[in-house]
């Protein structure tokens, strides 16, 4: 698997990178960690004339606290994101999802911006980006523009990026207090992409009975772009959490994951196993479950060797239920 020949430049600054892209025209490609681009080149599915390597540009690295949001440099590696105290404290959903990406080797090279720019609906981060309303800061020779996540993902492997544009950073809004998070990834082997994934953020109120006040749900691999499950979000608002977590054996069953080691020692039926749903009784249990039933509305999931659309729709419902439950529990500090 040898790519067709191409030129390679490693600019010393963002300014130079923009200029290099400008001069090279449509056939140029930005190279960051190379974990998605190089496989495409090696399979000869892409024939760029020149690669502009932005992976080592200081301007694209680092993670900063900007008050209302975190600014994650486009070239911050997955590993840096997972280990970042800032990300874990302020935007834990990003760290939770990134920790499920591929394997340690890929996470050391692959980057946050590259992953999002690649726009693979099976990638774990695009769903998080739409769930959290991230914003993309994009530079080109004509200046800087900011694109919201909902406008960024256009189609399968297609984004709002025009030729000559470079993502410099991604802004991740801080959600504030009372939120809990979970990324539920269902995959067949530890290194496999998600068959379906669900990113959930849940704000829980304890005023007048514990209930969900607000939820954000993003779906991985349920269409050609990441999906925001807005119907679930609307339906789950106000759902009561009666706090009988674990008392009803048939409530959850959320411990058997896509791959055996993913929940070390979490034998179903005990611990955070089968009773993982945050509610036991028929009524409130129904509310969360019913809301989750809407997860597949309006989606057009793909068919591949790991599952057909019908199965994926089913998974989206089950996993949404589990993700919301786990997120709610973590909001309650459990």
């Amino acid at each position: 698997m040898i790519p067709a020949s191409f030129d390679y430049v490693r600019p010393a600054s963002l300014e130079e990178a923009v200029a290099a892209l400008d001069g090279a025209g449509e056939e140029a490609k930005v190279l960051s960690g190379g974990q998605s681009l190089l496989p495409l080149l090696r399979m000869r599915l892409s024939y760029p004339s020149v690669l502009v390597d932005v992976g080592r540009l200081e301007e694209l690295r680092g993670i900063r606290d900007e008050g209302g949001h975190l600014a994650i440099g486009a070239a911050a590696t997955h590993d840096e994101v997972v280990r970042s105290p800032l990300v874990n404290a302020e935007c834990p959903l990003v760290a939770l999802a990134t920790a499920t990406v591929a394997d340690p080797a890929v996470r050391h090279r692959g980057t946050f911006g590259g992953s999002l720019a690649h726009a693979d609906p099976a990638g774990d981060l695009p769903a998080v980006a739409v769930a959290l309303d991230m914003e993309f800061v994009i530079r080109s020779s004509s200046g800087e523009r900011i694109v919201a996540a909902r406008d960024f993902f256009v189609d399968y492997l297609e984004t709002a990026l025009a030729p000559g544009e470079i993502i410099t950073e991604i802004r991740v809004p801080k959600l504030g207090d009372g939120w809990g998070f979970h990324y539920e990834k269902f995959h067949r082997t530890a290194q496999a992409w998600a068959t379906v994934g669900v990113a959930a953020a849940v704000r829980v109120s304890t005023q007048g009975g514990r209930h969900i006040e607000e939820a954000r749900v993003g779906l991985t691999n349920m269409g050609s772009t990441p999906v925001r499950a807005t119907e679930v979000e609307a339906a789950v608002r106000g759902a009561e959490l009666n706090g009988q977590a674990g008392t009803n054996g048939s409530g959850g069953g959320g411990s058997v994951n896509g791959h055996p080691r993913s929940q070390e020692g979490a034998a179903p039926g005990n611990g955070n196993g089968a009773g993982s749903a945050p509610h036991g009784g028929p009524g409130p249990r129904g509310a969360l479950r019913q809301a989750s039933e809407l997860a597949a509305e309006g989606t057009s999931p793909p068919t591949d060797l790991h599952g057909g659309p019908g199965y994926r729709r089913h998974l989206a419902r089950v996993l949404t239920y589990r993700a919301l439950g786990t997120a709610a529990r973590s909001a309650l500090g459990g």
Binding site: R188, T189, A190, T195, S250, P268, G269, A274, Y311, L319
Partner: protein, 801 residues
């Protein structure tokens, strides 16, 4: 940081660690968990893999491969490719038609088998996606890859033939002119009709052994060179000796002018038990161009064109009495040959024919196998080769029968297996099992597993209707190892014998070189053979080196496959040592001025019985070299060789138990416990045995849960990368609990049985039995392999398969 990944340091650590595994003083080497002496160089890469070989003036070969499953090749134009920078030559199949011959099949299983011509590069017609149609030779591999795109090939599509059942129907499009049925092979004993007539219970099932892609760590690679007269072929192969003979026959290069070298080889699992198109073409290119040539496959190229494994449809019927006693078994197989018959393609399902009865007694047996051509990559040997399929069938059927009769599956097996006091036992398939103790292995496994406790938990979960159900799978297997008695191979129309060769030479300084005809590619023969020789000659383990894999230094052999190396090759080593010892005793007696009958050998020393007069074996070696005073008629060397041809196969057995948790809401399966108690006879190196068992189980679990080669409706392979062809990693597998019972084989002096395939054979049915067991309350009787979450979920919700 840099120190941590320094290769030399890793090598030193492994070597130092090796000291820890030395046997206690006075203890035998055989039985000690010696660290493998070859590992330092293998894991650090400080060795010669075929792709590492760089020769002056070397050229690089790349192949143009058919994008179609079936088509007529109407035009191949290499002219544009030849004009590309660095391209030295570009050749089509037609360009080599006069010299490329046909790839060999050494196992025509029936007299009237359809054995089509198999040109290494297609000339008129391509019959599977990936078949080579042309090649480009350039000064580096990058230029060769670029030039591939400039070769123009016109194809006229022909209908793909993908489904074995449809392929056999009247009017099906044909893969070959002679039709899609390659052969029908039958075997049977007893009165099978009587066994089924009035049988109180008959279990009929159809199981599908999906197509698998052997995934050795090291991709295939070939380097060929010549001085104009003599040829050397380096290949990542399991079979340098067989390859040499076959290549001589195919290319016309005389055998004595051809040397084949298997340098260190990174795994094979049967996939490198082959004579490949690329090996033939590279030899021809070296001859044509007079320059060394190299080809190394990419993983995707490998997935397309490494021979595939399994791919059978098994139509089965098992007849039993009401108490579960087995009466008879009918097996009707369709075996997908793929597009051509390669080295042992037709024989693979036949190897299984003798194993469908497993460890059980029954009255009658009937076996039919139909070999079917399709427009897919040919199938051939893959770890277990025929025996995993057979074991899967009988072990799945036993669980189904137990369910039908509401018997515990272990209890049903007890009622039918051969009792330990009944050995040697001649089975319904006419094999004589020499030894075994199924009771002991099963009892040990049940105890370690905690069988009763898990059954209680299962009942509890069923009772409560939990979404996560527990299933328990039983697999009590045996296999025939130590391929093979030459006489048996002859009776099965195989093209060669099954003996193995070894020579042992004591060097003047008392060190020992062992030359083996087996060809290790990861198994650890250098360590195990050293342990055997250290005991046999009473020399230190470190004083032994093992030479293999090069037909110029290891001139005779049958290579490595079928768990044969220790059971056949190891015995040849023992016998060669015996001859060396005998010769040394004569020389020692002469030196000690005693009669050979009065000289005994112990602890490395020849001693005149009842005296202090003694010579060490090292002193004798030096005397043999100096040859100043040898007894009359004794040659000046302490060398010997031996060829061992087994009388019988060996029969490892064991009991594997698997507990799975199946999430009925998502279909996800998690293996919770896996216990393997294997009886591989006496053990030369427990650590190597452990490694083989672990890897074997992983590979069998992979068939049950993960792996499948998938062709689409046009015959394109969809699983060309590891993103689509799922191999489990350590992260996807449970801790294996392994244990052993040791019932020595009676058919060889070491009492060994072979362990290379056991884990793979046993584990697939253990896992699938467990999944089906978990889902019995839902009316599920089968889940097709691999048992993907979607298939499991559909089985649950479809109320069956």
């Amino acid at each position: 940081m840099t120190e941590e990944i320094d290769a030399g340091m890793v090598a030193r650590r492994i070597a130092e660690d090796g000291d820890l595994s030395e046997p206690a003083p006075g203890r035998n080497e055989v039985g000690a968990a010696r660290r493998r002496k070859e590992d330092a160089r293998l894991v650090t890469g400080r060795t010669r893999w075929t792709d590492n070989i760089q020769l002056p003036g070397m050229l690089y070969v790349a192949f143009v491969r058919s994008p179609m499953a079936h088509a007529r090749v109407t035009r191949v134009d290499t002219s544009a490719a030849r004009a590309m920078p660095g391209v030295v030559a570009a050749l089509s199949g037609a360009d080599l038609a006069g010299e490329q011959g046909s790839l060999p099949c050494a196992w025509p299983v029936t007299e009237d088998i359809v054995l089509p011509d198999h040109p290494p590069m297609a000339v008129e017609e391509v019959r599977y996606a990936g078949e080579a149609v042309a090649c480009v030779i350039a000064t580096d591999r990058y230029k060769a890859a670029d030039a591939l795109e400039a070769v123009e090939v016109d194809y006229e599509p022909l209908p793909a033939v993908l489904d074995m059942v449809k392929a056999l129907e009247e009017g099906s499009p044909k893969v070959h002119e002679a039709g899609n049925r390659s052969y029908v092979w039958k075997f049977g004993t007893g009165d099978v009709d009587a066994a089924f007539r009035d049988a109180p219970v008959v279990i009929e099932r159809t199981y599908v052994q999906q197509r698998l892609i052997p995934s050795a760590m090291e991709p295939r690679a070939v380097v060929a060179e010549t001085d104009g007269d003599f040829f050397t072929l380096h290949s990542s192969t399991q079979i340098p000796h067989i390859l040499r003979i076959m290549l001589a026959q195919v290319t016309g290069i005389p055998e004595h002018k051809l040397r084949v070298v298997a340098p260190d080889v990174g795994g094979g699992f049967g996939s490198k038990l082959q004579v490949t198109a690329e090996e033939v073409i590279l030899l021809l290119l070296a001859r044509r161009l007079g320059k060394p040539v190299k080809w190394t496959e990419s993983r995707s190229e490998g997935n397309l064109t490494v021979h595939h494994g399994r791919d059978q449809i098994q139509r089965l019927a098992l007849a039993a009495d009401a108490d579960g006693r087995l009466r008879g078994l009918r097996v009707d197989l369709l075996a997908d040959m793929g597009a051509y018959l390669m080295l042992v393609t037709p024989g693979i399902p036949i190897l299984g024919a003798f194993m469908y009865n497993g460890i059980y007694k029954m009255d009658a047996y009937d076996f039919t196998c139909t070999g079917v051509f399709t427009t897919k990559m040919p199938t051939d040997a893959y770890r277990g080769a025929g025996r995993p399929e057979a074991t899967f069938a009988i072990e799945r059927l036993m669980d189904e029968l137990a369910d039908e009769l509401s018997l515990d599956p272990v209890d049903l097996r007890r009622r039918n297996w051969i009792g330990h006091e009944e050995f040697p036992y001649t089975t319904v398939a006419n094999l004589t099992y020499d030894s075994g103790n199924y009771e002991a292995a099963t009892d040990r496994a049940l105890a370690v597993f905690g069988y009763d406790k898990l059954r209680a938990e299962q009942a509890d979960r069923r009772e409560r209707g939990e979404p996560v159900q527990l299933g328990i799978g039983v697999s009590t297997y045996t296999e025939m190892c130590g391929l093979a008695p030459s006489r048996v191979l002859g009776s099965l129309s195989y093209g060669a014998g099954g003996w193995e060769h070894a020579s042992v030479r004591m060097l003047p300084t008392g060190k020992v070189e062992v030359v083996t005809g087996t060809s290790p590619h990861g198994q650890g023969h250098e360590t195990a053979w050293s342990q055997i020789v250290a005991d046999a000659l009473s020399v230190p383990f470190d004083d032994v080196s093992v030479i293999h894999g090069d037909t110029s230094s290891s001139h005779k052999g049958m290579d490595t496959y079928g768990s044969r190396s220790l059971v056949v090759g190891g015995i040849a080593v023992v016998q060669a040592c015996d001859k060396v010892k005998e010769k040394a005793r004569h020389i020692a007696a002469h030196m000690l001025e005693a009669s050979p009958d009065d000289v005994e050998f112990a602890g490395g020393t020849f001693r005149v019985r009842g005296t202090d007069a003694a010579k060490t074996i090292q002193e004798v070696a030096l005397a043999a070299f100096a040859a100043h005073d040898l007894p009359p008629g004794v040659e000046a060397s302490l060398d010997s060789e031996a060829t061992f041809d087994p009388e019988n196969f060996s029969y490892p057995h064991g009991t594997h138990l698997c507990a799975v948790e199946v999430d009925t809401e998502t279909g996800a399966t998690r293996i919770r416990e896996y216990v393997a108690v294997d009886d591989v006879g006496n053990v030369v190196n427990p650590m190597i045995v452990e490694g083989q068992v672990h890897g074997g189980i992983a590979q069998g679990v992979a068939q049950a849960l993960f792996e499948e080669a998938v062709y689409d409706a046009e015959g394109n392979l969809l699983t060309t990368t590891m993103a689509d062809y799922l191999l489990p990693s350590a992260a996807d597998l449970p801790e294996f609990t392994t244990d052993r019972t040791e019932t020595p084989a009676t058919s060889n002096p070491l009492g060994v049985k072979g362990v290379g395939e056991a884990g793979t054979i046993a584990s697939t049915p253990a896992v699938v039995n467990a999944i089906v067991d978990a889902l019995r309350p839902f009316g599920v009787k089968d889940v097709p392999m691999p048992c993907t979450p979607e298939r499991v979920w559909r089985a649950v919700h479809g109320g069956g398969s």
